[in-house]
């Protein structure tokens, strides 16, 4: 970095006005007896992007807060931050090299789709059982492991579809059995504090599964070979393939954006399954019943839906989704029994950012987190450090979300008091 003093100074200035904005705006709105629910977000973002210039008119006029008033200052803050970064580090690849930026963004979006898909499983479990499954990352890991073993060790040469199916079915069963054996006392009122029970029991499951896999498989990294090869494409012509150029493991768009085959396959499959899931949740009786239970358990029970069965289905489905994400990514990353911890954290960040229980929120949150991680790993000058700090980027997003907008992007008021009890 060329001008670190300028960077940290500007960052300090933004944080200072952000804090002032969020605190004072809330006070001002409270004094005038207005709605204060989003004042923290608007005040801090306006303060961070414009400093006192934008805050003073806000405090004088105190307009009613609209969506536009939340989105525009947020985008402005991101813009100002990017400007500050590019001024203070003019030699950085992120500033000088357009194709590098494009590659990073497309990579971030592709990984973000997969992250969002995995988070969808967690949000499904949370919205219906009221439990955050700490074993989500372990199901992701097991999904990858089963796919690897089926396609590479036990039946080499078999179509990867069977590997993915095996992973889905076994994790679905595992999730259902675990729910029946260990989570049922929560809804029957047998445990004093069901939320804490849910945390501890899934934590215990995560621990058990991780070391079970390590004991049976060992701690050496494994990696499945890629599921299928790209067809050879040269468009628009073989001599000058500026639009699209593919080799077996890679695809190049516009001569700049390079996308690796496994990630592309994973993202496409995730989108397909995502669409299928939306169809299931919106159009089939079971899906509607699931959503009904997530909105109001008692009303759903009166309407003839068995909430206990929906609990089991939701948990099993959530675990299966995590496993599916894992079985997609086992061809892209090397796999270890410990591989689940970071994706599990990330999934939680995503569902908090997107709003607990929100499906579009999970998707958008996933892409946001994917982009933030791509920016972090791509732009921080010391590449080795940048990679080590991967878990931190998501946590920064989480902290900001919890401080500024605890309901998330598409948050709804959540009936968190029930926690699976009818």
């Amino acid at each position: 970095m060329e001008f670190p003093d300028f960077f940290w100074g500007a960052l300090g200035w933004m944080i200072f006005w952000g804090v002032v904005g969020s605190v004072v705006t809330r006070r001002v709105y409270l004094q005038k007896d207005l709605d204060t629910s989003n004042t923290g977000l608007v005040g801090s973002m306006l303060g961070a992007s414009t400093g006192p210039i934008g805050l003073v008119p806000l405090w004088i006029k105190t307009p009613e807060i609209t969506t536009r008033m939340m989105v525009l200052p947020t985008l402005a803050t991101i813009g100002v931050f990017m400007l500050v970064f590019s001024i203070s580090d003019p030699g950085n690849l992120c500033v000088t090299n357009g194709s590098f930026v494009a590659s990073q963004i497309s990579n971030g979006v592709i990984l973000g789709i997969i992250y969002g898909f995995m988070a969808l499983g967690l949000t499904l479990i949370f919205s219906i059982l009221g439990v955050v499954s700490f074993a989500h990352g372990e199901f992701y890991m097991i999904g990858g492991m089963i796919t690897y073993f089926v396609t590479t060790v036990w039946f080499p040469g078999i179509s990867p579809v069977f590997g993915v199916l095996a992973a889905c079915m076994s994790t679905f069963l595992l999730g259902a059995i675990f729910e029946r054996l260990f989570l049922t006392p929560m809804y029957e009122g047998k445990v004093e504090r069901p939320v804490e029970y849910g945390i501890l029991i899934t934590f215990g499951l995560a621990f058990t599964l991780q070391y079970f896999v390590q004991a049976t498989v060992g701690a050496n990294p494994v990696k499945a070979k890629r599921f299928f090869d790209f067809p050879r494409l040269r468009l628009p012509s073989a001599e000058d393939p500026w639009l699209i150029k593919t080799s077996r493991g890679n695809m190049e768009l516009f001569d700049t954006i390079s996308i690796s085959n496994p990630r592309f396959t994973a993202a496409v499959l995730c989108i397909l399954v995502f669409i299928g899931l939306i169809y299931f949740l919106r159009r089939t009786w079971t899906g509607k019943a699931l959503r009904a239970v997530s909105q109001d358990r008692e009303a759903a029970a009166i309407a003839g839906i068995n909430p206990d069965r929906m609990n089991m289905l939701a948990f099993a489905l959530g675990c299966m989704i995590a496993a599916l994400a894992g079985s997609m990514l086992v061809q892209a990353f090397s796999w270890l029994p410990q591989v689940g911890a970071i994706p599990a954290m990330r999934s939680f960040v995503i569902i908090v950012l997107g709003g607990l229980g929100s499906i579009p929120g999970a998707f958008l949150g996933g892409i946001t987190v994917g982009l933030v991680e791509a920016a972090g790993t791509g732009c921080i000058p010391d590449a080795q450090k940048a990679a080590s700090y991967i878990p931190a980027y998501g946590m920064i997003v989480l902290t900001l979300t919890l401080l500024l907008r605890p309901t998330g992007l598409f948050g709804r008021k959540f009936a968190s008091g029930t926690h699976g009890k009818v």
Binding site: F126, V131, V132, F134, L181, F182, P185, V191, E192, R193, V195, E196, Y197, G198, I199, L200, I201, F203, G204, L205, A206, F207, T208, L209, Y211, F212, Q214, A215, Q338, A341, I342, M345, F348, V349, V352, Q384, K385, S388, Y389, I390, P391, A392, G394, M395, L398, T399, L402, P406
Partner: protein
Amino acid sequence: MMKKSHAPQLAGLVLVIFFAAFPFFYGANDYPYIMHVIITGFFYAILTSSWAMLAGYGGQFSFGHMGFMAVGAYTTALISHYFYLAPVPTNICTEFPIGGMYLIILDPIGVTSSTLTQDCLHQALDVWKGSVEVTAMPVWLGIAAGTAMGGVFGLLIGLLVLPLRAAYLALFTLGFSEILRAAISAEISITRGQAGIELPSLFQNGITLFGRHFDKTDKLPPYFIMFILLLVCLGVLTWLAKSKFGLFVRAIREDQDAAAALGVNTIRYKVLVFVITSMIAAAAGATMAHYIGIISPNNLVILQMSLIVAMAVIGGVENFFAAAVGAILLEFVLEMLRNSFEIGPIEVDMTVWRLVVFGVLLMLTLRFSPRGLLVPAIDYFARGHVAKETVAKREQVDAVEASEPEAVK
């Protein structure tokens, strides 16, 4: 009033006497090994009982306890590694005059063994050629600073997680621990990353107690330091639990809004319980790091936190005596399960399988005996002399009380 048996208190006293006397009558060949296991057991007992205070009493299921432990350990490690006192200035290091001496702060340098001895102090020492005596920081100062730093971090994190409940809090603190691990692994020039940072032992020059000299590798002084730390920790926790503090903290756990309505300063007590337990964890971490002699980010992996959680749950998460005893017992069980064996051609690697056993035990305990395995036993002995009818009668009263909230609904 019912006459209560004092069997659990007696058993506790017997345990304390047993552990106080143990090093003097145990003389088998594996003496250092057994002593090490017990010291580690004490270490886990401190962490587990303070976690039981935070989670069981305070209802704040923090998964960042190992993070605070590492804050304490790394603070004292960095102090002993970077801070020295010398009577004359080196003129190449960062240094401040303090009462006739100079506090020298070493410059952080890389990780390779060839550069390890090329920091500014070593260069100055080469120039001085032994004419100047440099003193390292005393160990107790590092431990005190580590404890204080644990309190500072506990305050910050405690304030940050104030509005969070249950799962949010658990994941946020888990994230804190992960960030700390990432930072320690990444800042190689300061913390030496995965290689870990070495610390002087608790008594670098040995210690003479009651006319007997103990070498720095002797297990007896660290044994008693850890033991006293555990007793102090349990004493502080008991005092807190019995005082107004414990009542308020439990009230907040049961219903924060109701507690606030009754005049409990919920913010103060929620943060305070976080700060106190973090300080205990940091003190344990700092002491243990000096005893082991090295601290690395591997102490922060989720496995370590899982062990604390499992020990607390299996012992009894709402009773920190039970949690502490459970931790020592389980540490022994874990060590005994270490031996791998073979069934026919299959070799069973027990170093990993024992953790699976542990996890299953954790889940089964939670499912079938949520108060832990030791607490029901303690209760049983506590009412050992009570007539059956009285117990039945009390259960009846309990049942009526338990059904009342249902009736209100």
